[in-house]
């Protein structure tokens, strides 16, 4: 993050609705021009946080700052922040042109200036010919673009997007990810978007905050979240994870995770990173693509692999990869993925197989889902 400069600062924000807590001491920094995702399951408080940034909700305590200025009690119509709504909220009684011009008219700009800026943004979203249409006569994708244009034409410091792609069909959604990324690059405004779709967050965001029950579990780049999750929750929420739970033990300088049936070697770098110590409950997370699967033929080369034995339940060919589902001897299900460009491993459904992973591929996290570790330091 070269030249990263703080734009938004959320300080210890708390928001309750009755007995449910939507924001539980949330603190967060978002940089200028950053593409930032608020990621979490429904009800985790991500939309409430977004609405507090827009000014539709007021925090019970804590503060929201923009450029160092306190925004907490500034009304929505006075904030240099605009929002794109999940339903798009286009005004049905106005043309596309009037929808986009609406915000500029509130600023009292000259008609010529409004016209110039509306034309410009229509050009930017590639729909200059639709200016005279009513929203009712637009396709879903076109509505989404118009909603986006209406928000960015005001040139806000921050654009908030509430599930921007949720209303589109799958194919369009994937296209629009790239499109949003391109637009964000072009206009240079900070985008903060809410999504429950981790794939969407990983593919678009520069950084993302993973939320759960009003708390931020981790903030990081997509790679950080995937490769160095702060806790078990993040590890399981971002991407697929095979989880081995047990107790961390140090014997003669070597770290191991001891489970009911097995003991797996753990890289000491992970022990340092996670901040866990001898005797603590912990879990090793292994991504499916980091695992190998092979027929069980007794002891093989003593490469630095952790091994576990099981029975192959299922093979799925996905075109670019093969997926294997293995049930281990103690009943756990594992998911293994190998690239389709490699030869298929010589294993058959129903047979005993051996699953392994390189010791350094194991990610060590605290076993409690709220996992202490270094989560708080990173956020």
């Amino acid at each position: 993050m070269n030249g990263w400069r703080e734009l938004i600062r959320v300080e210890n924000v708390v928001k309750r609705f009755g007995t449910t807590i939507a924001a539980d001491h949330v603190s967060l920094s978002i940089g200028e021009g950053e593409f930032f995702a608020l990621l979490g399951p429904s009800g985790c408080g991500k939309t409430t946080l977004l609405r507090m940034l827009a000014g539709f909700e007021t925090p019970d305590s804590g503060a929201i700052l923009l450029d160092g200025k306190d925004l907490t009690n500034v009304k929505p119509w006075k904030r240099p922040v605009n929002m794109m709504f999940q339903s798009y909220a286009l005004f049905p009684h106005m043309t596309v042109y009037d929808n986009i011009a609406y915000g500029l008219r509130q600023e009292g700009l000259a008609a010529a200036e409004i016209e110039r800026r509306v034309r410009q943004v229509l050009e930017l979203i590639g729909l200059p010919e639709l200016a005279k249409r009513k929203p009712g006569n637009l396709s879903g994708g076109q509505r989404q673009r118009v909603a986006l244009a209406r928000a960015i034409v005001k040139q806000p410091r921050v654009l908030l997007l509430d599930e921007p792609l949720a209303a589109l069909d799958r194919k369009l959604r994937v296209e629009m990810r790239l499109e949003l990324k391109r637009l964000q690059n072009e206009v240079g405004i900070a985008f903060v978007f809410v999504t429950h779709d981790q794939e969407e967050a990983l593919s678009m965001a520069d950084r993302a905050a993973v939320m759960r029950s009003g708390k931020i579990m981790q903030v990081g780049t997509p790679e950080e979240l995937y490769n160095t999750p702060a806790n078990l929750y993040v590890a399981q929420f971002i991407g697929e994870a095979n989880v081995f739970a047990g107790r961390l033990q140090n014997s003669q300088g070597e770290w191991r995770l001891v489970t009911n049936a097995n003991a797996y070697r753990v890289p000491s770098t992970e022990v340092q990173r996670s901040g866990l110590t001898n005797g603590e409950d912990a879990a090793v997370v292994v991504r499916p693509e980091r695992m190998v699967i092979e027929p069980c033929e007794g002891e093989q080369d003593s490469a630095p692999l952790n091994r576990v034995f099981g029975r192959l339940l299922e093979i799925a060919y996905l075109g670019n990869a093969r997926n294997f589902v293995v049930e281990t001897d103690d009943g756990q299900r594992l998911s293994i993925q190998t690239p389709a460009t490699e030869l298929a491993p010589p294993v058959c459904v129903g047979e005993s197989v051996c699953v392994g992973w390189k010791v350094e591929s194991g990610i060590l996290v605290s076993a409690s889902e709220n996992g202490g570790g270094k989560a708080d330091e990173q956020a």
Binding site: W77, A89, Y102, E107, K154
Partner: protein
């Protein structure tokens, strides 16, 4: 099959029963002879007579004044009431009580209003009729605007606020235009009901200026002249037209 035919016959008879008298009234208004028993040929004679009947025309004007005045007031307050109920109160009891004036027997409402005005020592006049009509007209407007509001997407208002329009401006630029068809529909219905309302008007009317239904009632007692048929036909046409427009606008699609 037999059952079907019986049902068909029954349906026709019911419709005849419902609309026969009205149809006859319309036909008679064009009857030159003026007698309900003898057809004297087609004529607009009774419409011309009506034009000469100053008392009837004045009463008609009074009715329009009462209906128009009570409708205008009801449109404003009924709309605000609907917004209050939809957005703030959300209270079953309040809801029920708002719509009660639509169901309370007219005679009860009439007696209540009369004693109310007597209590206030308010002289009975067109004003007291208008106030009385506002009582039930507000309920009609509120009911119809509320239906419209329940389809209203509240994020539209948030979007307007977000784009820099303060709440009052948002109301006039976004909310009002979008619920306007509902307001018009409610108003037209209110106007129609008020125009030919008899019981409440009869109780709260002053001696000097009767509304149309009151005048016709008094005329009937002293012998009806056939120009009343012509007048009734006109009132019927206007009411039917207003109800038609009102139903069109009351739907969800509305103007846009």
């Amino acid at each position: 099959m037999r059952v079907r035919n019986w049902l068909r016959l029954h349906t026709s008879l019911v419709y005849l029963f419902l609309y026969g008298p009205i149809l006859m009234l319309i036909v008679l208004s064009f009857n030159r002879s003026g007698l309900p028993t003898a057809w004297g040929g087609f004529s607009l004679h009774w419409y011309q007579e009506l034009w000469q009947n100053k008392a009837l025309l004045n009463a008609a004007l009074n009715s329009v004044l009462v209906a128009g005045g009570s409708t205008l007031v009801s449109a404003v307050f009924g709309t605000l009431l609907a917004m209050g109920l939809e957005r703030i109160a959300r209270n079953m009891v309040l809801d029920a009580f708002v719509f009660l004036p639509m169901i309370i027997p007219d005679i009860v409402l009439a007696i209540a209003l009369l004693s109310f005005f007597t209590f206030l020592e308010m002289p009975l006049s067109l004003l007291t009729i208008t106030i009385s009509h506002i009582v039930f007209n507000i309920a009609f407007v509120a009911a119809i605007v509320r239906t419209r509001l329940s389809y209203f997407d509240n994020t539209l208002e948030e979007a307007s606020l977000d784009l820099g329009a303060p709440p009052l401006k948002t109301f006039f630029k976004i909310t009002l235009p979008l619920i306007f068809p509902g307001i018009v529909a409610g108003s037209l219905l209110a106007f129609t009901i008020s125009l030919d309302e008899f019981v409440i008007a009869f109780f709260t009317a002053g001696p000097a200026r009767p509304t149309l239904p009151i005048l016709i009632y008094s005329m009937v007692r002293f012998g009806v002249t056939p120009d009343v048929n012509a007048l009734a036909t006109i009132v019927l046409s206007i009411s039917a037209l207003l109800i038609l427009i009102s139903q069109r606008l009351g739907g969800t699609e509305g103007f846009f």
